[in-house]
Symmetry: C2
Subunit: 344 residues, 2 copies
């Protein structure tokens, strides 16, 4: 089959790789119907050293079940399914508490002989725990939004849930990438009435306004902090959803959050230190969030997508075929595309 392999910064190729086959009775083979490129794929795309073996890419996909291992029940060939961006057995103690990203028998796509999502098919380990059946046809217009349950919308939702967004909390979303926009949508869905979106790309912040942002702040750093404080009577917001992952973004989040408030961070941290010294102790600031256990949220969010109450799939502004995936990476890296959908 054809699949995406990254060999170094800026070097993404679509190549022939072995067709996936069942290796364990807990596996399934899924033919990929939709996949996409993640903002987090851009970190290695910008910095991966060359010379290595190549890395299979993609951790967001939905597709059709083709084969099932003997231990997988509840699915049949032909089912349309979505996979969360970390596979998991969904039965261990971590999974039962809703932290499938720390599953005792789980792992990441594209590593250790597991396929990535940016290809024609995937061997899905722990298929029964990992996959969630989608009650729509393969040609449903809902596929883009359903695909966001794999990662990007659940990630925005995780930021909002962990930070404690509710109808009584004001919210700042740091970052107008696809995760940031999904965080706006998630905060709106959880009842927030005041949502400040920090971003400087008008086409993106415009979508953010449609998703529920009430204010847009283009400034960054100290100016950004000052602007959000101005908008909130000097206090900052009860919650901050940090959707970037840079040092500047996390520093700014601490400057923006209200005393007693929480930062739900879901950006893939490029920083190693967080300036949470004496001042943040005196202000009772909470830093929470992390990699989103999407699997924990899919069943809860699915009905709203099926009923078109939310349309997170609007973050996709370009669609490519599998052979055009390298163009898709370039477009996202150059900020010509917000998020690229792949139709293999």
């Amino acid at each position: 089959m054809r699949a995406t392999v990254m060999y170094g910064a800026g070097d993404v190729r679509v190549e022939n790789v072995p067709d996936p086959v069942l290796q364990n009775p807990t596996d399934a083979i899924v033919r990929v119907v939709r996949s996409c490129i993640c903002g987090s794929d851009l970190w290695p795309y910008g910095s991966m050293p060359t010379g290595g073996q190549g890395r299979r890419m993609g951790h967001e996909f939905l597709g059709v079940v083709e084969e099932l291992g003997a231990d997988v029940s509840g699915f049949k060939a032909g089912d349309l399914v979505v996979a969360p961006f970390v596979w998991a057995d969904n039965t261990c103690d971590f999974c039962r508490q809703g932290l499938q990203t720390s599953c005792r028998h789980g792992g990441q796509w594209g590593l250790h002989g597991v396929d990535g999502g940016q290809g024609e098919a995937v061997r899905v380990p722990q298929a029964q725990g990992t996959l969630v059946k989608l009650p729509v046809a393969e040609d449903s217009a809902l596929l883009p939004s359903l695909l966001t349950l794999s990662d990007v919308f659940c990630t925005g939702h995780h930021a909002a849930v962990t930070a404690g967004v509710n109808p009584r909390t004001t919210v700042t979303v740091v970052g107008d990438g696809a995760v940031g926009l999904c965080a706006v949508l998630a905060a709106k869905r959880l009842g927030a009435e005041r949502i400040i979106l920090m971003g400087r790309h008008k086409d993106r912040t415009d979508l953010g306004r449609e998703f529920g942002a009430t204010d847009v702040v283009a400034e960054r750093g100290e100016e950004g902090i000052e602007r959000v404080r101005e908008l909130t009577g000097g206090d900052g917001t009860h919650t901050v959803l940090e959707c970037v992952g840079t040092q500047q973004a996390i520093d700014m989040s601490i400057g923006i959050v209200r005393d007693g408030g929480a930062i739900g961070r879901v950006g893939a941290a490029q920083y190693t230190q967080v300036p949470m010294g004496f001042d943040t102790v005196m202000r009772n600031i909470t830093m929470t969030g992390g990699v989103a256990p999407a699997r924990a949220y899919i069943e809860e969010l699915l009905p709203d997508v099926l009923d078109s109450l939310i349309e997170p799939g609007r973050v996709f502004d370009r669609t490519v075929g599998l052979d055009e995936v390298p163009d898709g990476y370039r477009a996202m890296a150059d900020r010509q595309a917000l998020k690229v959908l792949i139709r293999p």
Copy 2:
């Protein structure tokens, strides 16, 4: 009257200062019956530059109301009252959400013309919001435990509450000082069954065991992390209550907490950076806690003290008169005393 003034590292004096008088209609004058020395007083005692004006000390006290401003209701002269370690109006939006430490009209003892607690009397600003009446006599044997509601027990409780301690969570308490021991007691009170206390002073950890610690770990740093992990099947504990405030303590807390877990930090942070990079994002670690809004907890905790269900006052292992306060500081700094009670 006599009161404690600090002039520099190691230089604490008990001096004559002006008697407190009502300055605002929201003030009260309280004659101090019991006060104490806080672990946080040891930070300036170890490092305060000399040459300045002197700083009035003490932020924990209980006493008898002597005078009330015209706007203070609900109290009368002769009432025994306890004061939380930050004064507050208890009516602003921060106070109503239980964050009296960020009160819009509150402040700290010993600053800006407000008396400290280590003296004969105190002018209490925002007295109606700040003070809580104690239904016991001035000679009650419960006074030491009641005094801990001013700060140290509420601080341990805050660490436990913010970290989410409950009967299903395992707990590590970092530090065997008075706050750490109170955190053990608070975690036990909240139903925790497994409480690992990290400390190396046997007399203190022995009291910790009486308060509810099930395990004691004397090791620190990487060895300490390894030991706690060994005790928990490699996982660490769901919650960590950080009761020290040093870089080592916060680093260790991150190493000890279980994936998806929370660190409730109440140590006065001597560090400026917290190593919460990519690894802690992948592990979904939450950093929470902060300076304890004792006022929010006093009513809730008071009945358990009055019924002697808990005896946090056991952290006091030395009692001094006002003139011996400098000896009390020395004893605590030299670790000859755990926590020093003052009878002015």
